[in-house]
């Protein structure tokens, strides 16, 4: 690895100043679990990096708080911090379940939530859960501050809206009403330290057995993590029974193929997605049944 300059600013203002001022090729580093491996493997995304800006000591991008019906997660919160957090455990169980599946304990002790979706690999694990939670993110530069939906932020594989002088600071999630239930599923080639081959996240509100609202997202089966608005609209108002779940799962497969076309992996992934989606919904349905 070539010698790289590493800056360790102590405040957000310092970071924004560095990002705005520099003619050198800069990359933000937090946990380093993507950056360092990318540098080592001479990935196109990290080649020519001259300066790394370490944001681990920036208070403004750390910490998890709840205010005015929203949960605000610092961009540089590690997965361990998120997993152990009381607010997340109580209000965002799908996110908690998600982060538990990422990497290993060593990775989770360093890797950060924003690092995951700013990298935006097709398999980015945090994206499906964040999408069904209708997440927005705050982005700052020396001259600007904006908040946009995560969905709009993510543009394509390894591509986001983030400009050279910008940094994601906070991840904001409206607290889901108590009536919402959901789940997360990840398929990897092994139980841990595995890149997702398929991820699914579902969040829904049932009225007796009818679907009031349903949010569906997948990762690793389309170019980037995505919601399924057509499917969600189709499902709304329907009775959640076994037959309908099978129909919904079948349609899910169709929607994915529409987005990706037939790929080498479709023969395997398609039936697995449909079956696992059906199983997830069945479990949610069973949990929701009065005892």
């Amino acid at each position: 690895m070539p010698s790289i300059e590493i800056l360790t600013p102590q405040s957000l203002n310092e970071v924004l100043g560095i990002l705005s001022n520099n003619d050198k090729v800069l990359k933000i580093i937090a946990g380093g679990t993507d950056v360092v491996t990318g540098l080592k493997q001479e990935s196109k995304r990290f080649i020519n990096t001259e300066v790394l800006v370490d944001i681990n000591r920036i208070a403004e991008v750390k910490g998890i708080e709840q205010r005015n019906g929203k949960i605000s997660i610092g961009a540089a919160s590690t997965f361990t911090e998120i997993y152990n957090n009381q607010i997340v455990s109580k209000e965002l169980p799908i996110l908690k379940k998600t982060v538990a599946t990422i990497g290993s304990l060593q990775i989770r002790n360093r890797a950060t939530i924003a690092g995951n979706f700013v990298n935006n690999a097709p398999c980015a694990d945090t994206v499906p859960a964040l999408l069904v939670y209708n997440t927005t993110i705050e982005i700052e530069s020396i001259n600007s501050k904006r908040e946009i939906s995560l969905q709009d932020f993510l543009q394509g594989p390894y591509k986001t809206q983030l400009k050279k002088d910008e940094i994601v600071t906070r991840i904001n999630i409206p607290v889901p009403p108590k009536t919402f239930v959901g789940d997360f599923y990840k398929l990897g080639r092994r139980q841990a330290v595995a890149i997702s081959r398929i991820t699914l996240a579902v969040l829904m509100e049932l009225n007796e057995n009818k679907i009031n609202e349903i949010r569906i997202a997948s990762g690793a089966v389309t170019p980037i993590g995505t919601r399924f608005p057509k499917l969600e609209k189709f499902a709304k108002g329907n009775e959640m029974n076994d037959n309908f779940l099978k129909t919904l799962a079948s349609k899910m497969g169709e929607e994915i193929i529409k987005l990706t076309g037939l790929r080498w992996s479709s023969e395997y992934k398609l039936p697995v997605v449909q079956q696992m989606f059906y199983q997830m919904l069945s479990v949610i349905l069973n949990r929701a049944k009065p005892r």
């Binding site: 679990t33 360092v36 493997q41 361990t80 360093r110 330290v193």
Partner: protein, 151 residues
């Protein structure tokens, strides 16, 4: 070059180093602490595991400049002089060491687990060492050694 100040195995140290050398190389080459191993260099095998501020991390993914002021514990810091830590004793007793290459990191992952959770279930032990690959033992003896170690 930078002057790096941090706490290494309980002692305050200062060292002059390139900011972008890996913590793994800093420990092995500058401090001659070769207990920490390189297996993959990309954070997948866990052989480079050390404790940073009490948490198990892959030292191959951390740059020297990032550890200013931190508390670093390596395998060399676990024993009490010549007296092995109970985890180390049990690793030997229950046959958890074959070639030994994964062992320093495995012991540190176990140490971090038991500091936080002195009575882990088997599932919790497996979670704690999921990031530590062993090519020799099949993990059974390692899990047993950790399970038998109660603080």
């Amino acid at each position: 070059m930078i002057n790096l100040k941090f706490i290494l195995n309980g002692k305050q140290v200062v060292v002059e180093t390139e900011p972008s050398i890996r913590l793994l190389d800093l420990l092995r080459d500058k401090f001659n602490l070769t207990g920490t191993k390189e297996g993959c260099g990309v954070g997948e095998c866990g052989a480079c595991t050390i404790l940073m501020n009490g948490k198990a991390v892959n030292s191959c993914l951390i740059f020297a400049a990032q550890i200013e002021g931190s508390e670093i514990v390596t395998i060399e810091g676990i024993a009490n002089g010549n007296e092995l830590h109970p985890i180390q004793k049990n690793f030997l007793k229950y046959g958890a060491v074959q070639c030994g290459f994964c062992s320093p990191a495995m012991v540190l992952s176990a140490y971090a687990l038991l500091e936080e959770n002195p009575n882990p279930t088997e599932e919790e032990i497996k979670d704690a060492i999921a990031g530590n690959l062993c090519r020799c033992t099949g993990y059974k003896q390692i899990i047993e050694a950790i399970a038998k170690t109660k603080e």
